[in-house]
């Protein structure tokens, strides 16, 4: 008698559902991203409310390091395009290339966090903390939450580039779908940064 694997009991992991036209993980990630939009949306809303409700507001670019913010935008955008290349290589069964691009994604994400760390260090060395002003409280909250998303993404990417590769042997298409879903999350994190950079650094 053949053993039934747990993963065989999960439906629509590769094939698409008739009602949604998507496999479950992809539908799931889009619902998750929708909830993420609500999360960051509420923070942007708080930012607008506090800004328009205040008598005076600091010139944000005087507090923040705009060149580092711009550089981080390019770094994160580059990691996004590396992720696309990694996924394409995976679909083409080119595992060496897939791993190479995934490591590049991880390296660029770590680089992003390093620059973010430099910025935070500059603030702390000038005695600028979340308690200093409402603007800085929002800045640390929003960029800190975004950095946590980056860290989460890095962990997932490390898993799919290394220890999680055994899943590919189990079901190749399922693994490709998992990486695709991780990629959608990664592009979303990049998308959020575009708004954070524009709003917090430049307005």
């Amino acid at each position: 008698m053949s053993k039934i694997h747990d993963s065989d009991l999960v439906p629509y992991k590769v094939e698409t559902r008739e009602d949604t036209g998507l496999y479950n993980a992809k539908f799931g990630i889009w619902l998750f991203l929708a909830s993420e939009i609500m999360l960051f949306g509420s923070l942007f809303s708080a930012y607008i409310l506090l800004r328009v409700g205040s008598f005076s507001w600091p010139v944000q670019s005087e507090y923040l390091n705009v060149p580092i913010g711009a550089l981080n935008s390019v770094i994160l955008l580059s990691s996004s395009i590396f992720f696309i290349r990694a996924w394409v290589a995976l679909k083409a069964d080119d595992i060496v290339k897939y791993k190479k691009f995934m490591y590049l994604v991880i390296a660029f994400a770590v680089l992003f966090l390093c620059f973010k760390g430099v910025e935070y260090y500059q603030h702390f060395s000038h005695h600028e903390y979340p308690k200093t002003s409402v603007f800085l409280a929002l800045y640390f909250l929003m960029t800190g939450l975004h950095a946590l998303h980056i860290i989460g993404g890095i962990l997932v990417n490390i898993y799919y580039a290394g220890p999680g590769m055994y899943l590919r042997a189990e079901n190749k298409q399922w693994f490709i779908n998992r990486v695709e879903v991780a990629g959608l999350y990664w592009h979303f994190v990049d998308l959020v940064w575009i708004f954070l950079f524009s709003t917090l650094y430049l307005l």
Binding site: G21, M38, L49, S54, L77, V88, S133, H187, L191, S198
Partner: protein, 103 residues
Amino acid sequence: MEQVPHKDEFKRDIRIYFTIIALIALILIIHQLHLGILGIALIVTIAVGEAAILGYFFMHLMTKKKTIHLVLLLTVIVFLTLLFWPAWDVFYSPRTPSEFTSY
């Protein structure tokens, strides 16, 4: 990320990549010009454009199913409500300068 892109799609992705970088450079230039309210409007518009390009091409929203468009439409409605309802409330609530807080 729906189908295996061929060389043309790779070239397209590279073009999009440099387009977004050019838009980042553009908002930095606008920021340096100190245009006031016009500058804010331009920077927000361009940022929305960048995000739309990224979502449309990198997240392949142009090829996605109606289900995703519906989920995103509902999300955008809630997002815009979250964004503008409080601001509208602040704008239309009568206040004296002493009621404002200085940050």
